[in-house]
């Protein structure tokens, strides 16, 4: 039986820090991870010695990243754990930190996502199930097929979908941590070459490297450690699911697991889709943004592209979707991505997002899916003082 523990023991995000997302470089994952963690500790006004546990989300960097990072912050003997859940690795690291505090096991926990650019082989392909298209269906091709189906079902045009990338590149141009920081016109977004099907390069996420970190704390720790509660963002829900029963699948597996995970998060948080001010959504490919917004009920079924065209999803619109630039512009280094979404949402809820601030942001939702059919959804609430 599923139980919520966040209601009885509140958890707050009290520190955030990032190392910019970037193309492959000679910078080690240790340098990037330490940079993000130290920034998060500084933001929280804490030291590493205040941290009771740490979770490292990484999909590509290899084994033993967690103790290696912890070692260089000053050995304290705290439990550290590396978690992997494909694209949702960082989201799951955040969830584990939240649950460690919510359970009462500890009062302060850190979550850091870190990855280098290189991709190791994935475990799905190691199952060795031969099909008719071996070696042909990579991620862009897989999502180009979903794009074709999405557009056919709605009678929509590729230009409408290209507008997703235009919005997110515009937002990313305002984000100093984004891998792509250049606003793009619709003509630029739609310009060949095509990566697969209708998907152009600017409609596909850049998979690079970087790091993002957050510190979460209990209300007891806020008092004991003198943490500035006016900047503490409350975690209202933490939901994580894998692909549902075959008979519950409606649409794609990604849409189905998103719908059910979001339903759990809305139930736990008491926040409804229409109450959201900020949504950071998994948009590795442009089609994913409208797919998941509709699956979560943030947009009415078949209405996401119309909402986008009307400006409802812009910063300053009905709900700011991916004000960070999303995966399309901010980037998708994998391990850091879900944690970086939390960092952006915390900035928005604190009112510290600068030029990309969504006015009056009170509730934020962050969403990631992962290869193999997993989904993580968190709902965050603004500090009570705002």
């Amino acid at each position: 039986m599923r139980r919520s523990i966040l209601g009885s023991r509140p958890v707050h995000v009290v520190g955030i820090g990032m190392h910019p997302y970037q193309r492959a470089s000679a910078t080690t994952y240790v340098t990037m991870g330490l940079s993000a963690l130290r920034a998060a500790l500084t933001d929280a006004g804490l030291t590493w010695q205040d941290v009771d546990s740490a979770f490292v989300g990484s999909g590509k960097v290899g084994m033993a990243a967690a103790p290696t990072l912890a070692r260089f912050l000053g050995r304290t003997g705290l439990p550290v754990l590396q978690v992997e859940s494909a694209s949702a690795s960082g989201s799951v690291a955040f969830r584990q930190a939240v649950l460690d505090v919510a359970s009462g096991r500890c009062d302060v926990s850190a979550a850091v996502g870190v990855d280098k650019a290189e991709f190791p082989p994935d475990a799905v392909s190691k199952a060795r199930i031969p099909d008719l298209v071996e070696g042909l269906i990579d991620f862009p091709t897989m999502f180009a097929l979903k794009t074709d189906a999405y557009l056919r079902e709605r009678g929509a045009a590729v230009e409408q979908l290209g507008a997703v990338a235009v919005k997110n590149h515009r937002n990313g141009a305002l984000n100093p941590f984004a891998q792509r920081q250049k606003a793009r016109s619709l003509e630029e977004v739609l310009a060949p070459p095509y990566v697969a099907g209708a998907l152009t390069r600017l409609q596909c996420t850049p998979v690079g490297e970087g790091s993002a970190a957050v510190i979460v704390a209990s209300e007891d720790a806020l008092r004991w450690l003198g943490i500035d509660a006016s900047r503490g963002v409350r975690v209202l829900a933490s939901a994580y699911q894998s692909v549902p029963a075959v008979d519950l699948v409606a649409g794609t597996e990604e849409e189905s697991v998103t719908r059910l995970t979001a339903e759990e998060a809305f139930e736990e948080s008491g926040v409804a889709p229409e109450d959201l001010d900020v949504v950071e959504v998994h948009d590795a490919f442009s089609v994913e943004e409208p797919m998941y917004l509709e699956a979560m009920g943030v947009c009415t079924q078949d209405r996401a592209l119309a909402d986008l065209a009307a400006g409802a999803l812009d910063i300053g619109g009905r709900v700011a979707v991916s004000p960070s630039g999303g995966l399309l512009a901010m980037g998708h280094p994998v391990g850091p991505t879900g944690v970086g979404q939390v960092c952006e949402s915390v900035r928005q809820l604190r009112g510290e997002a600068g030029d990309r601030q969504h006015p009056g942001a009170r509730n934020a939702l962050v969403h990631m899916v992962g290869v193999g059919g997993v989904c993580a959804v968190h709902v965050l609430g603004a500090p009570a003082s705002r």
Binding site: I129, A144, L145, A245
Partner: protein
Amino acid sequence: MNPDSAPKTPAPWRSGDDGPMLTLGACARCGHRFFPPHGYGCERCGADELRTEAVKGIGRIEALVDVDRPDGSFRVADVRLDGSEVIVQARVAPGTEGHDLVTARLDEEGHGPVVVFTRLEGDL
């Protein structure tokens, strides 16, 4: 099943008298059918007693894309097999369009025999 050995993984197709026959996986307990076939376990009910069914590859295209890569161009599609819940990803022949009724053929040119779906005139 011998716990020390990997479950037998059937080939996804075999030659038939009238073109390739696709191999569907089928659960002996709940009847769930799937593609590509494997011997790991039923995604619907978890049973590890799986069998196979040979079917003629006829279906309708649900999504289709062209891909150009440095090592060659190809067209692939999601094909929903005739009257079933099973969707097959496969190469499709040039000239095939979305929603076309298609059938599996064997293409023996290039890098050996591969299954390619081509347009089938008429209706199911």
